[in-house]
């Protein structure tokens, strides 16, 4: 596990502590024989790190193996590994793309963007403004003219955002 994530042994142990805390009745403290345990989305979303995050459900869903938000410990570690400080920009971009891709069609289309915006601002913008922002944003970032953002578009855009690395980061 050390080879596969950006965490040290100690951090993984701490993560396991957190994971155990989430569902003490489900998760055994002893993890030597790798039990097949999954913690449902509703419990994970209540972590203080995620509780106020507007994209909490999407984050958890994108990292769960079954796509429904049930996280095994592996997925859990994976999630915080990607969101850690050490993860490279490319990896972060891939998962950010997944998170913003609400309908999981491998494109960020207008609906996805609208959902993103609504979560970002929550009643700060009028519906017309949201639509306007969506259109303009897609227009700006879309390079191939299919009116939705493919990963290539997204990555190209993210590569020009210097703050992305520091904001797409959760300290655990």
């Amino acid at each position: 596990m050390l080879d596969c994530t950006f965490f040290t042994r100690k951090e993984i142990l701490r993560l396991h502590g957190r994971y155990h805390e989430l569902a003490p009745h489900l998760v055994p403290m002893d993890y030597t024989n790798d039990p097949d345990v999954k913690v449902p989305l509703a419990l994970i979303v209540n972590m203080p790190e995620l509780k106020e995050n507007p994209f909490r459900n999407r984050i958890v869903e994108s990292f769960s193996e079954d796509g429904k938000g049930n996280l095994s410990f592996n997925d859990f570690v994976d999630m915080f590994s990607v969101l850690s400080e050490m993860a490279p920009r490319e990896l972060k971009a891939i998962y950010a793309f997944k998170i913003y891709d609400f309908n999981v069609d491998n494109y960020i289309c207008k609906e996805d963007l609208e959902k993103t915006l609504n979560r970002l601002t929550k009643e700060e913008l009028t519906p017309e403004e949201v639509i306007l922002v969506c259109e303009k944003a897609i227009e700006e970032a879309d390079l191939d003219g299919d009116n939705k953002l493919s990963f290539a578009d997204f990555e190209n855009m993210i590569s020009r955002a210097p703050d992305f690395l520091s904001t797409f980061h959760i300290r655990i």
Binding site: M1, L2, D3, C4, F6, E11, E52, N53, P54, F63, N74, D75, V77, D78, S81, E90, L91, I94, Y95, A96, D105, N106, L113, T116, L117, L120, T121, K122, E124, L125, E129, L132, V133, K136, I138, E140, L143, D144, G145, D146, N147, S150, F151, A152, D153, N156, I158, S159, R160, A161, P162, D163, F164, L165, S166, T167, F168, H169, R171, I172
Partner: protein
């Protein structure tokens, strides 16, 4: 060896360097290729495609409507399946995809397949999968698909295995796969590796090797864990970041960085200077009993402290010996037993090395930070970037989340408003007024800075004279004398405290539009103030005190300067405390109680960071004069961290201003490096080089300057050991000869110049490439609409029997509207069928043209029927020109081909089209020419310009 041979079938095996992206990329190229195919059927499988027929019917109905509809097609998502197919094979969807994305898609597909397997779907879930067109892609049955995935994984494992250990770990970590997948992969790789190793080597030996490797690895992990446990204030930082966001967090991280610098400095000086000096008993135990009130001594650093390890004056110029018997031998060299420790030399080199290493660390972190924050141009895609990268995932406090929402909302609103309205022009009068205000503000700021600097200058002079009088009178109260030492630090610190407030008021008066501009202005003003004050102080110390220490009755002016710096550092700290208490706590209480405001004050990051930089400059300046000053600075920073944290939690709220944390961090590090560190280095070097150290104390007593310590040592070495004579001459040639230094500096400057030129060139290339990307995008958009058009038209005219006539077309001279229709139709037909033939069209026109069919689907067909029409028009002549041009070149330049096609349409269709279409046409036109010829580029460019205007 076996393992390597077995991979020879794989074209790319050697991964010599981890940075060799090409190699890695190539090794995955097969995977990528298959992924492209997958993409095909992913698109085929979309529900969009399933309703293709019905939708296309609707399109046919709509296609008859008027011209603006055309542009709507661009926006609308109603692509036909053919168009989608073409889209999916576009380079941006396939080749340009990064390796990571491909792998992740592979993973997704594996997962999907597994899920499908688990749920055992009926075959009618994929009614299309049996279609002949995609049968070859291997999705017909789950089993086959699964097998294919297994193959892919094997390949991946092989690829991974070929990498070295550290590369493999790096790759694994950066792979966007789920952890369990990664673990499996790793197990597979390791198993394979074990196999190949155990086949080749003697088991006993390898066993031992494994044990050693495992032990080493454990040790390494232990070390890493230890390092990470050094991550100071992990939870505190998390808490701050969660409540106040990245901006405030950057202040604390900066504070931590400074702390590490000081710890480093302290360790170096402490281990190499203080400890050796402390364990040998100094010969001058004068036991000065100037016991005034102890409290004041802590503040001034004088009295008892002045003869302690804290200051330069305490250190002696002996060569310390490890053997006890020889510790008190006069000038050191007589005792040869044991290790000798030449104090002056060590003092000199310790300070030098500490500065050098600090410089390297600073420059390194600065360049790293620059690389991260100042990416290429930032003009394009602002809105999208804002949407996707502005949410701070760290923030976990409810009120801060709300604030962040509001913040992002207003920023987006502003951006949208900016996009919508053009640059609003202020009337001349108003602009003049604003200019006047700015001028006034700058004059006020500069004036006040100048006044402060003059005040410090004259005040320090006055205090200097005062001190001189006191020492000469020798009768005054020692307490008063000590207290008077504090006057200058107090004045300077209060200037540092009060003037930024004044600057803020001035900036508020100026009413800057953008907050970032405000930040920069405030930073530059504060910086100017601090630098000039420090400059005056340096002059005071090095110019007045150091040149004439006798008049002050100083035995050791270095210690005096050290004391001064200590006082300044301490005063700075005390004033920071006061500022925190009055400026933050009392102001909060006042504004909440008296003004009944709900808002708490906002933490001023820029000012606080500048104060940190100021303190650090003092510490660097003082290391030479008082080697333990870093320790004082460490204590100060530790206190400050906790105090600021508590104060922040109690008194402040998250800022509503946007704070570009990344860029600001870069700027702070740059400021720390450039005026602060560089200034300190210059001062210290000047002191070492050209000021005579005091004769009565310190390690350099009796020397003309500190620099001579090295020289003397070299000469002594040469005297003792004649073999080393060359060292002395080398020393005198290299170090003392200014020519050599100038040469070094010149080479250095030239290197910097070259590097900056290279960077500049790269920036230009990046700009060009960016432009090219944009143009490609335009091309693509254009081509796709064309394709869509053709498709639609084909739908509409399907009843007409033209399917067979796709090979060779002979045209009659009469070109009518309907005829062009028929023509495009047939071409659309060939296009959907095959795209391999190279067939030539000969037209019975005045102009004859040969057409080459290109291989990709996206190439729409080239037609020059327009020529008959264009004869009447003047500007189409330019087109004939460009056409022939590309024809003489290669057939890969498809864009020009299509542009001729467009032109046909502009003329055959209604006039309302003309504008938009010709517009896109010009785009493609310029694009191709940048590709082919730069010489002709300028020419055609002007040409097209006129064209657009018409």
């Amino acid at each position: 060896m076996d393992g390597r041979v077995s991979f020879d079938a794989d074209p790319v095996i050697d991964f010599e360097s981890p940075a060799d992206e090409d190699g890695v990329h190539d090794s995955f190229s097969q995977l990528i290729q298959e992924q492209c195919h997958d993409l095909h059927d992913v698109i085929e499988m979309t529900p969009l495609d399933l309703e293709e027929d019905s939708r296309d019917d609707v399109e046919c109905l709509e296609a008859d409507s008027d011209a603006p509809q055309q542009t709507d097609h661009l926006i609308g998502e109603r692509w036909s399946s053919d168009t989608l197919k073409v889209l999916s094979s576009m380079p941006s969807r396939t080749i340009g995809r990064s390796r990571g994305a491909i792998i992740s898609q592979y993973c997704n597909r594996t997962m999907q397949l597994r899920r499908r397997r688990q749920s055992r779907p009926s075959i009618q879930h994929f009614p299309r999968s049996a279609r002949p067109s995609i049968r070859g892609y291997g999705v017909e049955t789950d089993a086959a698909g699964f097998e294919e995935e297994e193959n892919k994984r094997d390949r991946l494992v092989n690829n991974l295995q070929n990498l070295s250990d550290s590369d493999r770990v790096r790759m694994l970590r950066a792979m966007p796969l789920s952890l369990s997948e990664k673990k499996e992969l790793r197990m597979l790789v390791l198993n394979k590796a074990e196999h190949s190793v155990s086949q080749n080597q003697i088991p006993c030996c390898s066993q031992l090797k494994y044990y050693i490797i495992i032990a080493l690895r454990h040790g390494w992990y232990g070390w890493l864990s230890f390092l990470s446990s050094l991550q100071l204030w992990q939870t505190a930082l998390k808490c701050v970041g969660g409540r106040f966001g990245t901006g405030v967090l950057s202040y604390f991280i900066f504070l931590r960085t400074l702390l590490f610098f000081n710890v480093f400095l302290f360790l170096v000086t402490g281990l190499l200077l203080v400890v050796p000096q402390a364990i040998t008993h100094p010969d001058q135990d004068q036991n000065i009993t100037v016991r005034s009130s102890w409290g004041l001594e802590v503040l001034t650093g004088a009295g008892y402290f002045s003869h302690s390890l804290l200051y330069y004056g305490y250190y002696n110029n002996q060569t310390l010996q490890t053997g006890h018997s020889c510790s008190a031998s006069g000038n050191g060299t007589s005792c040869s037993s044991g290790l000798s420790y030449n104090m002056p030399l060590v003092y000199f080199f310790t300070i030098g090395a500490a500065f050098f290493i600090t410089c390297i660390i600073l420059v390194y972190s600065m360049s790293k930070s620059f690389g991260q924050s100042f990416r290429i141009d930032k003009s394009k895609g602002l809105l999208a970037i804002k949407v996707f990268s502005s949410w701070d995932f760290k923030v976990i406090k409810k009120s801060s989340v709300r604030l962040q929402r509001a913040n992002i909302g207003t920023q987006l609103k502003e951006l949208v408003a900016e996009v919508n309205r053009q640059e609003q022009k202020f009337p001349v009068l108003q602009r003049l007024f604003r200019l006047f205000i700015h001028m006034l503000a700058w004059i006020m700021c500069l004036g006040s800075t100048l006044a402060c600097v003059l005040a410090v200058y004259y005040f320090s002079e006055h205090m200097h004279g005062d001190l001189r009088n006191r020492t000469q009178a020798a009768s005054s109260d020692p307490l008063l004398k000590e207290a008077s030492l504090l006057a200058v630090p107090v004045v300077v610190s209060s200037i540092n405290l009060l003037l930024p407030g004044f600057f803020n008021v001035v900036a508020w008066m100026e009413k800057y539009d953008s907050p970032s501009m405000l930040n920069y202005i405030s930073i530059s003003r504060n910086l100017l103030l601090k630098v000039s004050v420090l400059g005056v102080l340096c002059y005071h110390w090095l110019g007045r005190v150091a040149t004439d220490p006798q008049s002050l009755g100083l035995e050791c002016w270095e210690s005096f300067v050290g004391q001064e710096l200590y006082r300044f550092l301490l005063m700075d700290f005390i004033f920071m405390l006061l500022d925190t208490f009055f400026g933050e706590f009392l102001w909060r209480v006042f504004s909440q109680k008296a003004l009944k405001r709900k808002r708490k004050p906002v933490f001023d990051i820029a000012r606080n960071v500048l104060e940190l930089i100021y303190g650090q400059t003092l510490a660097w300046l003082g290391v030479l004069f008082s080697p333990l000053l870093p320790a004082v600075q460490i204590i100060k920073l530790l206190f400050l961290f906790y105090m600021k944290k508590v104060s922040l939690k109690m008194n402040c709220q998250a800022s509503g201003k946007p704070w570009r944390a990344c860029q600001m961090t870069t700027i702070f590090i740059t400021l720390l490096c450039f005026p602060a560190f560089l200034g300190a280095t210059v001062c210290v070097t000047y002191t070492m080089w050209s000021i005579t150290p005091s004769a009565g104390c310190g390690p350099f007593r009796g020397l003309k300057n500190m620099f001579q310590a090295g020289k003397r040592w070299v000469h002594r070495l040469a005297a003792v050991n004649p073999d080393l004579h060359w060292l002395a001459s080398a020393h005198s040639y290299l170090v003392e000869n200014p020519l050599f230094l100038f040469l070094c500096a010149g080479i250095f400057l030239i290197m910097i110049y070259f590097h900056s030129q290279v960077v500049d060139g790269q920036r230009k290339i990046i700009e060009l490439l960016q432009e090219q990307i944009e143009n490609e995008g335009e091309d693509k958009k254009f081509l796709i609409t064309r394709l869509q058009h053709i498709h639609e038209r084909k739908r509409r005219v399907t009843p007409r029997p033209v399917k067979g006539a796709s090979e060779v077309h002979t045209h009659t001279l009469s070109h009518t509207h309907t005829h062009t229709h028929a023509h495009t139709l047939s071409h659309a037909h060939t296009h959907t069928h095959t795209h391999t033939h190279t067939h030539t069209h000969s037209h019975t026109h005045t102009h004859t043209h040969t057409h080459t069919h290109t291989h990709t689907l996206s190439h729409t067909h080239t037609h020059t029927h327009t020529h008959t029409l264009s004869h009447t028009h003047t500007h189409t002549h330019t087109h004939t020109h460009s056409l022939t041009h590309t024809h003489t070149h290669t057939h890969t330049h498809t864009h020009t081909h299509t542009h001729t096609h467009t032109h046909t349409h502009t003329h055959t269709l209604s006039h309302t089209h003309t504008h938009t279409l010709t517009h896109t046409h010009t785009h493609t036109h310029t694009h191709t020419h940048t590709h082919t010829h730069t010489l002709t580029h300028t020419h055609t460019h002007t040409h097209t310009h006129t064209h657009t205007h018409t």
